[in-house]
């Protein structure tokens, strides 16, 4: 199966729909870290697989990522990514202790980030499930510290397995006026993508 290009109008409506899910995730993050965190859905885009990494502006830099995998027919992968410093700071905020300077991540730091990914990802999926009426239950979160390109490459496989162009949703974070170097990248699987597009076409 090779997927045709998604119409611009569909991408626009999809952007609105995913923005709603992003708002739910924003609200959950505010409660979780007890601070005003805003998530903004910057980009819902469809690109040839080859261009995906340059579009997301990632390469061989090291990142911290919490991976949530959606199982079942309508699956996909959601990544919550940070650079080392931002990841450390968020873990410290959640664990309510000073940021660690040890090179090795402690169990509590990893758990704090994993749970953050879980809460954020579930809030996002809870909102999407109201729209498309399927169960979207993510796996237990998985912590990765690796090259950004390697992590995203693996996430893209959810679609690349059957599609030549990949649909990517990229979200950035702000605390007040301050940009946070956190990103959420959502790659719906081929089947979830088809379902989402079919649903928004009905709305449109």
């Amino acid at each position: 199966m090779s997927h045709n290009l998604t119409a611009d109008s569909t991408l626009r409506i999809l952007h609105q729909v995913l923005s709603t899910a992003t708002n739910h995730a924003s609200a959950a993050m505010c409660r979780w870290v007890d601070s005003v965190i805003t998530l903004t859905l910057d980009d819902v885009t469809e690109v040839p697989l080859e261009d995906a990494l340059s579009r997301l502006d990632v390469g061989d830099e090291m990142v911290i990522a919490v991976v949530l995998t959606l199982h079942g027919n309508e699956g996909g992968t959601l990544l919550l990514m940070f650079d080392e410093l931002n990841g450390r700071q968020l873990a410290a905020t959640v664990a309510r202790r000073p940021a660690s300077i040890e090179p090795k991540w402690t169990e509590i730091e990893i758990s704090a980030l994993n749970e953050t990914g879980n809460i954020l990802g579930c809030a996002y999926m809870n909102a999407l499930t109201k729209l498309i009426d399927v169960e979207l239950v993510p796996s237990a979160p998985y912590f990765v510290r690796d090259f950004a390109a390697s992590v995203i490459e693996q996430a893209l496989m959810a679609q690349a397995i059957s599609m030549d162009n990949v649909l990517i949703c990229n979200t950035t974070f702000h605390r007040g006026d301050q940009d946070l170097n956190w990103n959420v990248i959502f790659v719906p699987s081929d089947r979830l993508r088809i379902k989402l597009e079919a649903t928004v076409e009905l709305i449109g």
Binding site: V67, D146, F147, E153, I161
Partner: protein
């Protein structure tokens, strides 16, 4: 099949997902892989190497760049090398990548399938697989050297080594 994805490398060309490059003499290329396979097929005397960033094991009738699938990438690479005067009998291969990045949480065992496909297809073409660094749960940063027929492999947080 789309020949435009064949890029002539200058120095340390980035080989993106699904792309193939041809390296001559001292030219180098680089790639970052996770579940994908970085494959180099080279001719030692001619200092000529073809490099592909293979994404999936088989094309199964899909169009797109030949470098994307193991079963189209390998014949394409052999063809590129042959056009430069490298006969198949003198070719040697090395491969790195094919990780399962997200552990049991991952949806697909693509990394392993990529490596198995590359190995089987090289055998079919009678090209020896001289060295490999495959599998595991970590990504790899690769640099390909055509003059030495080597790949340097860097796994995050570990000392790089030569394949």
């Amino acid at each position: 099949m789309n020949a435009t994805t064949f890029i002539e490398a200058k120095s340390a060309a980035l080989v993106r997902m699904g792309e193939t490059v041809l390296l001559r003499q001292t030219e180098t290329a680089r790639s970052v892989v996770g579940s994908c396979a970085g494959l180099m097929i080279y001719h030692r005397r001619l200092k000529l190497a073809a490099v592909a960033h293979i994404v999936l094991p088989e094309a199964a009738g899909r169009s797109g760049s030949p470098g994307k699938f193991a079963d189209t990438a390998i014949p394409h690479m052999i063809d590129l090398l042959r056009r430069e005067g490298a006969e198949r009998v003198s070719l040697i291969a090395k491969v790195a990548g094919g990780a399962q990045m997200f552990g049991a949480a991952g949806p697909l065992q693509i990394g392993d399938a990529n490596v198995r496909a590359v190995t089987a297809i090289l055998t079919d073409f009678g090209i020896p697989l001289q060295a490999k660094s495959v599998g595991g749960a970590k990504g790899r940063k690769l640099t390909f050297y055509s003059d030495r027929g080597e790949i340097t492999v860097e796994v995050a947080g570990e000392t790089p080594f030569i394949l």
